[in-house]
């Protein structure tokens, strides 16, 4: 669909949020909580931390939360009876004020959860969420979205994209049907955008540091290059911070919790960084040491996903590097892989 351009006044943003709330749409937006910024439900505009570069965690939690019930069951002498989760009980939600890399992150998640058998929990939630992303006026040294096919103004995955073009004006790009449908709610606040607005002028300058295709090729080839993975991962302490904040990591684990009468099955985030991730009941662990696990993290995103899902599993948002306690900076590692001759 051909994208429409509109102008919105900054001063109208509070009204916008009120409109959404009055229509009963839950609004998820970045909220400052001490030094950490979380994407959470908001009621008014002033709860939203618009000045923040990136939330600590990605927006994937809107569709793939850290804890999600997938099944209810009751235990009786006769046996177990299951009560499935009512899939259409999910509400239409609005993801407001996220960044382009959050929005484009869903591209990888759609690819993974879209595979057969389709994961309805994710897909239903994703289908019912409308993403209003804000383009990035600034970036920091962790960002490398431009090197993986993204960019500060990338619109992939966004239904609407706002770009601040002046102190009071926002350039609104309506990108999808969902975007159009939502924009109808505040059409009165929108005015036609003059032609010739060069959006790139208002975007951050993020240098390309490596050629993604080259990295994909070299990553696929370096499975057996143990020295490379060892050198890179010696300081990695094997926690799950990078996987859990990453917009494209989608691994999960099932756990049941019950009392003697009733129980639930929960889907939880999991990380290939944990040693437990590949521990067999026999005690054997195919990925015994941390370097193998680090290799898996890189190869999954830059070798297996491109090969099988034709999408690079990384949006270059740099969240994993910011969250990493021991400074396993993925941008630095990918650059060094790219530099392999």
């Amino acid at each position: 669909m051909e994208k429409e351009l509109k102008i919105l006044k900054y001063s109208d943003l509070p009204k916008l949020i009120e409109r959404f709330r009055s229509q009963g749409f839950p609004v998820l937006a970045p909220v400052r909580k001490g030094k950490v910024v979380e994407i959470e439900q908001v009621q008014t505009i002033d709860e939203i931390a618009l000045d923040v570069l990136l939330s600590t965690q990605s927006a994937k939690k809107a569709a793939f939360p850290k804890v999600e019930k997938v099944l209810d069951y009751t235990l009786a002498k006769s046996g177990v009876t299951q009560q499935p989760v009512d899939l259409d009980s999910f509400q239409e939600t609005i993801l407001f004020g996220v960044r382009p890399c959050d929005a484009s992150g869903f591209k990888s998640l759609d690819a993974i959860f879209g595979e057969e058998p389709k994961d309805q929990f994710y897909l239903q939630k994703k289908a019912k969420s409308t993403i209003i992303s804000f383009s990035c006026p600034v970036a920091d040294e962790y960002c490398f979205c431009t090197s993986v096919g993204g960019g500060p103004g990338n619109t992939t995955g966004s239904d609407l994209q706002f770009t601040g073009i002046s102190k009071d004006e926002i350039l609104v790009e309506i990108l999808t049907e969902k975007g159009t449908k939502l924009s109808a709610l505040f059409a009165d606040l929108l005015s036609v955008a003059g032609s010739g607005i060069d959006k790139s002028k208002f975007l951050a300058d993020v240098k390309v540091v490596f050629d993604v295709d080259g990295v994909v090729k070299k990553t696929t080839a370096s499975f057996n290059n143990a020295a490379l993975w060892l050198d890179q991962s010696l300081r990695c302490i094997g926690c799950g911070a990078c996987a859990f904040v990453c917009p494209t990591c989608a691994c999960f684990d099932f756990q049941d919790e019950q009392n003697t009468k009733k129980g639930v099955r929960l889907r939880l985030w999991d990380s290939c960084g944990f040693s437990l991730f590949t521990l067999h009941t026999s005690g054997h662990n195919p990925r015994e040491v941390q370097s193998q696990r680090w290799r898996q993290r890189i190869l999954h995103k830059f070798a297996y996903m491109p090969e099988q899902l034709h999408v690079v599993g990384c949006e270059g948002c740099g969240r994993c590097s910011r969250a990493c306690p021991v400074d396993m900076n993925i941008k630095e590692h990918l650059t060094s892989i790219g530099a392999i001759v």
Partner: protein, 152 residues
Amino acid sequence: MQEFEPKIVAFVCNWCTYAGADLTGTSRIKYSANVKIIRFPCTGRIDFMILMKAFENGADGIIVSGCHPNDCHYSTGNFHARRRWIVFRNLLNFTGIDTERIQFSWVSAAEGFKWADVVNNTVKKIKEIGPYENYKKIAVSTLFNEEGASNE
């Protein structure tokens, strides 16, 4: 509304307090039925996580009781337990868990009367404090679906 009947679990050691409770029985001394006993070989065997599980599953009060110092059948179990509880109570207090709901005591195999007192006093105290709302808010039952979700 019908009077609050607290659920209290008692973790006791087999050689002293369990036998003391037996003596309370043989002497037919009455005490409130809210307290149910779980037997351990020694108070040394009572892991601090057991107390956490008790609160999570709806216990309003906990009694932990074993042999007096120097009476332990295994000679040192109760000493190690005492150190564990000194540290654990500190931690629980710091994280806002109500240690008034946990009653620690020494009850020997000959103190049938004392066991009845410990139980009755604890039940009276917990009835005054009321159900442990904080823990009920995070119990596993809150995860179950709405109809019939109440923790019957």
